[in-house]
Symmetry: C2
């Protein structure tokens, strides 16, 4: 479609967002330029503030505000110091924090190994993880990556590195999700839930 | 989830975009603050430029750049002057233009009548349409609204106003979409295609 130039530039920028295709970007751009509550300007301001103030924590690799480095989670004295949770992205930390079930600290890997995308060990924060094992006297690393093939391969690779340094490596339990019925559980999940069955 | 404040503000602004829920907004916000190609700044710049330069055409109600008012379509001398196409939004104009099948001019209604949302005649650009009928000596108005109940009711209402002023009102043909099989066509579409059958 032929658009106005300022609209084209806006659509091109919106299309770069994750999960946003050409159609969604066009729809958002039209909504933004037609919005009468100043949404375009509010969003622009929020972007500029976030761009200025949000930074990467030099210790865990998560995001933090510029004046807090290391981040609030890394410097929180109430958290267990010997337990480290490895995740792929900062969003995973927010998710785990929201369940209030983990009291240790975090380490953001920055993704998983992916030969197809040319993402190797050097592209992940693996060396930073290994040096933290020693400098922070870590007893156990909970490797909380996804359950796709590449993430599982990454987890196995990390587990080997971690245990070879005398540190315990663990991972999240597999099983049927809370609130789900056996009828609707897929075969892999079910067989893993059976393997990991627990005493009643 | 508990986030950093600048991130919260960004998520809140992104959530106001059409079709974007909490989860998508969080995903986009994380991607934006972690992007290393300056995407946040580029998007902010595109928003500010669009916000400054994009305006509403005083004649057709579509969007235009601030220095072109009336817009390029309204002032294009090559377009048929007696034929006006009424659409709900500027996006519809871009869509119709992309098929190269319409040579007249446009009028943006700004939505359709919706009692549920409290959207009445006063909220649409109906008076502007009626005054254009006379001032631009319009012969025919193609009412190109959607096919949901509210849009059809709006189209009927407009058709009455238009024909009562001695101007011809028409609408888009109903029928089976190009490239589609009869097997996959829904009953309403099919029955309308039969009603509107054409000589071979």
């Amino acid at each position: 479609m032929k658009h106005l130039l300022p609209l084209d530039d806006l659509i091109a920028a919106l299309e770069k967002l994750p999960g946003i295709g050409k159609r969604s970007a066009e729809r958002m751009a039209f909504a933004l330029v037609q919005n009468r509550d100043g949404l375009a300007r509010k969003l622009a301001d929020a972007l500029l503030v976030a761009d200025e103030q949000v930074n990467t924590c030099s210790r865990c690799g998560s995001i933090t505000v510029i004046k807090e480095n290391p981040c609030a989670l890394c410097t929180d004295g109430k958290r267990a110091t010997g337990l480290l949770c490895v995740v792929e992205s900062p969003g995973d930390i927010m998710k785990i924090e929201s369940c209030n079930g983990f009291t240790g600290r975090y380490h953001v890997l920055g993704g998983h190994l992916s030969p197809a995308l040319g993402k190797g060990v050097a592209d992940l924060r693996v060396n930073e993880l290994l040096s933290r094992l020693q400098s922070e006297n870590i007893q156990e690393v909970l490797v909380a990556l996804g359950t796709d093939v590449e993430s599982e391969a990454t987890a196995s690779y990390l587990a080997e590195l971690i245990t070879s340094r005398g540190v315990k490596a663990s991972r999240l339990a597999f099983g049927i999700p809370s609130g789900s019925a056996i009828e609707y559980t897929d075969a892999t999940t079910l067989s893993r839930a059976i393997q990991g069955r627990q005493a009643l």
